[in-house]
Symmetry: C2
Subunit: 277 residues, 2 copies
């Protein structure tokens, strides 16, 4: 039995999807993971804007934005004080077999609401443990940055983590570039500035990453996207990870390497937590 608080397919409450959906057949779709807090879907416009960009890149025709917002409002109305709303949009059912996208297709909306809990106080105060995975991420520009449904790399990487007790796992690319965590983006703090990996060859360009890149300069903190490797990480003063659920979370250790705690990370977290959106 799933612990989902609700599931909806094309706006109808229910848990069943046609087996010919191209999301299942090929991972032909995208998703968003949205934090619902006190009846508010946080950063909803940013999530929907990213979804729209992703759909355009995959050339999935989607016009049901009004219906999607109605779906979301309905699910949010069902949410406890804190919950996760997961939205999947697939290219819809395949009429015929084969990879090529059908000429006519009707995208499908699949929504689920899940319980979640706040980040533990100790994690925010002391920072979290991050371990480096053995798996190396493929570098593939056509899909880089998208929150698409082809997530087997994340599944295999997360499986490595079941052996330890890290809060998050760090992913490097086949060229040994820093990419992200399995479920988060990462930022290094160096001499008062923020550095985060480019999302042009691998990884997911997270909404919370985007919020940090937007908010940091407003606090007078420069933030830059660039190529980074493990040596940059070891040379950094501090590190934090981000995603829609956890917000900004300081990293205490990567493997055996210990970071200091940074006032910058605390300020960023507090600022973003206090945003109305």
């Amino acid at each position: 039995m799933s612990d989902a608080l609700g599931m909806w397919v094309d706006g109808v409450e229910g848990n069943l999807v046609p087996a010919d959906d191209r999301g299942l057949q090929y991972g032909d779709g995208l998703f968003e993971t949205i934090l619902v807090r006190d009846g508010n879907a946080r950063f909803l416009d940013a999530h929907l804007a990213r979804l729209e960009r992703g759909l355009a890149r995959l050339a999935i025709p989607f016009t049901a934005w009004r219906e999607l917002r109605t779906d979301i409002a309905r699910a949010v109305g069902r949410a406890p004080r804190l919950a996760i709303l997961k939205i999947i949009v697939t290219r819809g059912s395949a009429e015929t077999r084969g990879y090529a996208p059908p000429k006519t297709t009707r995208a499908r909306r699949i929504m689920s609401l899940w319980p979640t809990s706040p980040v533990e106080h100790v994690h925010l105060e002391q920072g979290v443990q991050v371990n480096v995975t053995e798996l190396r991420l493929a570098e593939a520009a056509p899909l880089a940055g998208l929150k698409h449904l082809n997530r087997l790399e994340n599944v295999l990487a997360a499986a490595e983590g079941l052996r330890g007790n890290a809060f998050e796992l760090l992913l490097l690319s086949t060229r040994d570039q820093l990419v992200s965590g399995v479920m988060s983006n990462l930022f290094l703090v160096k001499e008062g500035e923020l550095h985060t990996p480019l999302m042009d060859r691998a990884g997911v360009a997270g909404v919370m990453r985007q919020i940090v890149l937007r908010e940091a300069p407003l606090l007078g903190i420069a933030a830059r996207e660039q190529e980074l490797v493990l040596a940059d990480l070891f040379a950094a003063d501090a590190m934090f990870i981000t995603n829609a659920r956890i917000g900004v979370v300081p990293v205490r250790r990567v493997g055996e390497h210990v970071f200091g705690m940074s006032e910058i990370v605390k300020r960023l977290r507090a600022t973003i937590e206090a945003l109305d959106a």
Copy 2:
């Protein structure tokens, strides 16, 4: 409306899968595409052996082999003279959200039967047109060779083909290595020997490719897996593509480059078509 001739989920006829299936959520599963000819699922043991290897690599526990064979026999009984049987095995439903594979999980079998038609005589006699895609495949050892459900690269590459009228599209990797077609494996014929790309960094190790590698030596034709680039293709005497549906099909042209027709390709095709399996 799908043109499927039948669909079964865990052995029960029907078209509906729980939306929390990890095959849909993450592409966390594998598939097989089997040709059914005259009431016979061709090369079934090779397909099931590959499925078993893939499940082991993804650490998906699966024990329902007897049930799967029963499912297959039932579907084959429904098949016309020529059909495609597609088998998907996913890690099953997710009880909680998150990439990490649950400790307890029940793999799900999703089977569909599709109409198909024989390869056209003109294609076998004159060879087919193949065009090179703009998309470059990521190189990712952990998933290489597997017929997994993360197939967005194939979808995007196949979408390029909608603009032309090639029979198949050729995929190169980000390092410009030859990998495969979108839906097939490829072989070059050079001085009476066969060369086919390694499947250790990208691509799917097809069952028909494996049959060719097994049958060619029995005909006195050496066959070798190796790294290959476009220059090797242009230097080859002939080329052919393979998959479970089409068998062995000669290539006439790649882009503007024209190949000769090879007796070796004809012999291989005739031999494999005549196999009882």
